[in-house]
Each structure stands twice: as C-alpha cells, then as structure tokens.
Amino acid sequence: MASMPISFAALLDRPDIWRGQALSRGGAPTLPCGFPGLDAELPGGGWPAGALTEILPTHEGIGELRLLGPVLAGLSQRGLRLVWIAPPHLPYAPALAAAGIDIANLVVVRVASPKETLWATEQALASNACGAVLTWPQGAKYAELRRLQIAAEGGRAPAFLFRVPEAASESSPAPLRIALGTSDGGLAVRVLKRRGAPLAQPILLPSMPPAVRGKSHHVDRHPVASAAARDFSARLVHA
C-alpha cells in the first residue's frame, strides 16, 4: 500500500498541532490588515473578525485610521457596511474615497452620551449586519467591554475600539490590543496583547500620507537602509 509522503513541515502546518512559540491559529476568522509585516505578527494573520481590537494611539493624527485603510477599503468594496460610532470628528469623504473606501457603505452614528456609544456599539455588533464596527467609547469599564466582546463573538465584523493611551494599564477582554506611537516619523505599532506569545518589539509602519512622505525633515526614510529603525530595534515593513 503506497502511502502519501507527508513532509514534516506540512504536518506542523496542521491546524490541530500547536507549537509553543507559534501564534494561535484557533480557527477564528481574520481579515488581512494589508501590512504584511503586521499581519505576520497578528494571530491568524490579520484583524480578528467577531472580536474586539483595541487601538490606543498616543494622540490623534499619527495614522491611527490609515492603519485600518486597507481592511476598510476591502470590506466596503465588497458591499459591507462600515459603521463608525461616535467618531471625534466628521469622517471626511474625499480623503476616505481616495484611500479606496467606498463611502456609500460608510455609516456614521452620532450619539449624545458615552452610554449611548456603548449601547449603539453593542447593537451594531449583535446585529451581525455590519462589515466592520469602529467605535470611540469614553471611559468604558471592563464589564461594559465584556458585553461588547460577547456581542461581537460569532459575528463576522471586526470591532475596532479607539481608546486613550491610559487605557493600556487597565485590563480588557479584547483579545487584541495595540498601542500606536510615532518613531522616526513612521507609525510604531506595539502589540500589547494577542493570543499566543507576547511581542516585545514594535513594528514600524510608514504611515504618513504619500505626498507628505518625501517632504519630511528626516533624511533617511528608505525602509531597508534605515539605521535609525534598527536603533529602535523595530521591524520595518513596507506598506
């Protein structure tokens, strides 16, 4: 009886075999984030669908939305709705359209109080009718986030919660937590929490709008030659 030769690598690739240093491949669906270097470090190779992802930028304007540009563009072009709940400003249609997002599928929900933000987010996640949910909650407690996580579970939508950097010190039920900072004019992504082994080093993404990139006062911005990036012991990745 001839048996199929099975390579050792193929065997290790089986989803039911888990190696200690490997990231969780727990079968939970993910959506590629569009930055290969970051995808490689995210469990399942992308943003988790049906789960909370916390994004904690040090301050606004460093590229926190641009980080989601590719995934939002992909979802909206497939006709899925992007629901933005309680955004801090008006999402600007010309810029979003230029980033490839089909703005016909973008829906803004404006609320009058932080309680309503949580309520609307829970409704949006539980309905499972959205392609992605982006929400800007203020001062959410663990129990409230837990409710959101439960509402998201089993659904298809990734849920991005934008929170203040101070929230990093609080515990959270979100399976993926990411802190954003700037480093050498780019966006430094620190994975605070993920399923699997922790990640010690930040991932550096060029985050600026393309037209601005060349005008920077930082002279050496070439990804491979960037000695500065190595000094920060960061991994440098092409967008």
Binding site: R66, L90, P91, P94, A97, V109, A124, A129, C130, G154
Partner: protein, 467 residues
C-alpha cells in the same frame, strides 16, 4: 375563549383588586382573585360586593367582545384561510389542510395556544370533524381532539345539554323529563322531541354528528389593521405600556402573516382621559411583520417618551399593508451567526438616538473642503472625485490657531510640510473662501491640515487631522 368578557378589561395590565363583569345586576364572570373570595358567576353584584368589598365591577361590553373576537379571527387567519366566528366567544378554524404546513396538530396547537396567551387570551382548544362538535368540546372545557367521525358519537353523547345554549326554560323542561346529556336526548323518539321542543335541538345534534350540512361563512380579514386595549388602571409610566403594546403587536404580526404582508409604518396611540391622544408613529426602513422587531422598536421609543398624562387606552393602527413574501430557507446551513439584517439595526439605532443620528457621508464636486464632504442619507450613491491630499478627519468648524513669530502654533510651533494649496471658490453663492492650505506637523509628530485665511484679518486655522 371562556374568559373573553373578563379579559377585554384585564389583558392590558393586571390589577391588584379582584375584578368581575356584571350583566343584569348579576356577576357574569369574575377573575381568580374574586373567586378566591367566594364570588361566583350568577351571584347578585350586591352579594359579591359583600364577599369582596374591594371588588371592581365593570358592565359587560358586548361590542368590545365582538371586536376582540374579530381581532382573534384576523390573527388566526395566518393558520388557515377557513376561519369562522362562533359568536359570542368562539373562533372556528378549518385546519385539516394546514396540519402539514405547521408540522402536525400538536405543533399547530402549541402555536395557537402561545399566540393567544401572548395576546392576553385564555383559550380552550378542541378539534373534531364537524365545527359544531369542536365548538361544543371547547364550551365544556374539554381539550379534546377527535379525527374520525366514527369516534364522535359516544363522546358527544356524554356532553351536557347546556352546550345547545338554549334558554333556561327549555333546559328545565329537559331536566323535568330526566334528560341531561346529548346521548339521552338522542335516545328519545325524534318525533316527540320535535313536537315539544321544535326542530332546533335535534338539528344541532345532527350537524354536530355530520348528518346535516353545517355551512359556514368564512371570515374575511379587513384591509387595514386596528386594535385597541382599554387599561383597567391608568398608566403613568411609558415602560409599563410595553406589556399592553406587545399584545397588540402579536395580533398585528399574525394579521400580517395571514395577508402575506408587512408594514413599513404603524401608529400607536395612547388615549388620555381629557386630552387628545398621543400618537407615536413607528417607521421601518423596509416592510416587516416580525413581532420581536416591532417590540424592540416600540421599547426604544417608550424608553425616551415623556407621557403627556396618564394613559387609559392603547391602540395600534397600520394602514398600508404591502406584500411581503415568505423568505425561502437555504438548503445548507451556514456556520456561525447568520449575517444579520441591516434595516432593523438602523431602525433600532434611530428609534433611540433620533433619526438624524444615523447618516452617511458623501463627496461632492466642490472645491471648498467643508462642502466637498457632507452628511448624507445612509447608503446613498455618490460620485467619486479625485482630490489632493486630504485628511480623514475634518473639523466641522475650523479652529483659529495661535501665531507665534509668524509661525502657526498648536501645542507648540507647527512645521509646514506640504503647501500651499490655494483654494478660492464660492464667489457665486456669497459663501466664498480664499485660503492657502498646508499639511503641517505638530511637535508630537501628528499631522494636521491647516490654512491661512487670505481675506479679512487673515490668520491661521486648523481644519483637519491626518489620522
């Protein structure tokens, strides 16, 4: 529906006091709290009040009873087109053709029982090959189901004569000759019975046995839906009305299912004692007949409702019924949560947050930045435009920036990276702008979109954030 005369008063909410319905100064029917105190049907109202001093007594209201019966018939038409009314308190359904569709008799009965209970009606369900026999079983409180005509006769024979609903004198006359059951009546010589009591009782019995035809006029549901509940006590909190509203919503959903229709709008009106009723219109993004969804929307509206005054009556109206075919079920079950429906989510959000809270954004052929991106109805088609570098966030109102030594400043001096991009536009509508836009970097490396005003006093403004 043995409790119909009572339940038209009590189904909206419960009362702490015992309750009875009177007819000709006698108790016609009373609730459990009253019977626990010894109040019985047929008792004089004065005697009942002596037994239960806090007893609330309402006059029997045949018009409302009939309306309720019609409502139940309209709801029940979802199970079969053959619905007939048996006044004053019965509804007959011809279900032999519907059993398979609803998964057999037991499953159909369960749906009937549950639906009636949700509308606030207690019920006795019985079935037989003839409508007359089925109704008689229900009248004596027997939840009996007989499928074969051959089995009918012995069971009918045991029924008391009261099911004939003839007057008291006739009943007394039967009793005088020792006849108490239908079986004993049938055993008497037909001619003699016919001579003394008329053809009526015998003909009824023959119809029950299927030996005489018993044609029925089937009920035709009205084109519009309207139903109301009178509340036994005035309600002052909107949330407490949900209980009564739910009863009407279940009735509406059944009515719509019977018509294979849905509604896109329904109106709840709250009746007050001496004010015009409060009307609450509930709109839907797409037609629906889902009772759970309707209930959710009403709950959200009630949560934010300030009542104009105590509510005495609750009515539900739906005028425009549109066709809404049943959805075909997929052959293969999908894994995980099934994809949800978008419209109910939008309705829920709008019901609680206000209809302007949910909106889309749009791009317009316009050079002025604040006009190129606008709020639009969710899900509209938009045109795609090619602009220069634009920020993801736009401030609704440009914010003036401090200027330190001719350099604009926002938490420290700003470094201008790209610009100027001159935008001069809008001279034709009087809201013209003349600005030089720059992409600038803050000390903390955030990128912002700022402009220098070229008219009037000049100055720098923050207009966007490159998030």
């Amino acid at each position: 529906m043995p409790q119909l005369p009572l339940e038209i008063f009590l189904r909206g909410s419960s009362t702490p006091e015992p309750f009875a319905v009177e007819e000709r100064h006698c108790v016609f029917v009373c609730d459990r709290k009253a019977s626990a105190r010894g109040v019985r049907a047929g008792m004089a109202v004065a005697a009942a009040l002596a037994l239960a001093p806090r007893l609330r007594v309402a006059l029997r209201d045949p018009a409302t009873e009939t309306e309720a019966l019609l409502g139940v018939a309209g709801w029940a038409a979802q199970f079969t087109p053959g619905v007939a009314l048996e006044f004053p308190d019965g509804v007959l359904l011809e279900v032999s053709g519907s059993l398979k569709l609803f998964g057999g008799l037991e499953s159909l009965l369960e749906r009937l029982r549950q639906g009636l209970a949700e509308m606030g009606w207690s019920s006795v369900l019985a079935g037989a090959p003839t409508p007359r026999a089925a109704f008689w079983f229900a009248l004596v409180g027997k939840q009996k189901f007989i499928g074969e005509s051959a089995e009918l006769e012995p069971v009918l024979a045991a029924l008391p004569l009261e099911v004939l609903r003839c007057n008291d004198e006739t009943l007394a006359a039967f009793e005088a000759i020792g006849v108490r059951t239908l079986g004993e009546l049938r055993a008497l010589p037909r001619e003699g019975v016919a001579r003394r009591f008329g053809q009526g009782p015998l003909a009824e019995l023959d119809r029950a046995l299927g030996q005489l035809p018993d044609p029925r006029n089937f009920f035709v549901p009205p084109a519009r839906f309207g139903a109301a509940i009178e509340l036994p006590a005035e309600v002052t909190r909107a949330e407490a009305l949900l209980f009564a509203a739910r009863r009407l919503i279940v009735q509406l959903a059944g009515f719509l299912a019977a018509r294979s229709g849905g509604v896109q709008r329904f109106v709840l009106s709250l009746g007050h004692r001496d004010k015009a009723p409060t009307e609450i219109a509930i709109g839907l993004v797409a037609p629906s007949r889902d009772a759970e969804h309707f209930t959710l929307l009403v709950r959200e509206r009630f949560a934010s409702l300030e009542l104009a005054g105590p509510v005495r009556e609750l009515a539900l109206k739906a005028d425009d019924v549109v066709p809404l075919p049943d959805r075909n079920l997929g052959l293969v079950l999908e894994q995980g949560k099934p994809p949800g429906q978008w419209e109910p989510l939008v309705e829920r959000l709008r019901a609680r947050l206000g209809s302007e809270a949910v909106c889309g954004i749009a791009s317009r052929a316009e050079h002025r930045p604040e006009r190129a991106g606008v709020i639009a109805d969710a899900g509209q088609k938009r045109l795609q435009l090619d602009f220069g570098e634009r920020p993801f966030w736009l401030l609704e109102f440009p914010r003036p920036l401090a200027e330190i030594g001719a350099v604009p400043s926002l938490e420290g001096p700003l470094e201008l990276l790209v610009g100027p991009e001159r935008i001069e536009s809008g001279w034709w509508d009087g809201d013209d702008v003349a600005r030089d836009y720059f992409v600038a970097r803050m000390q903390n490396e955030a990128l912002v979109w700022i402009y220098r005003e070229r008219r009037g006093e000049g100055g720098w403004y923050l207009h966007g954030v490159f998030a």
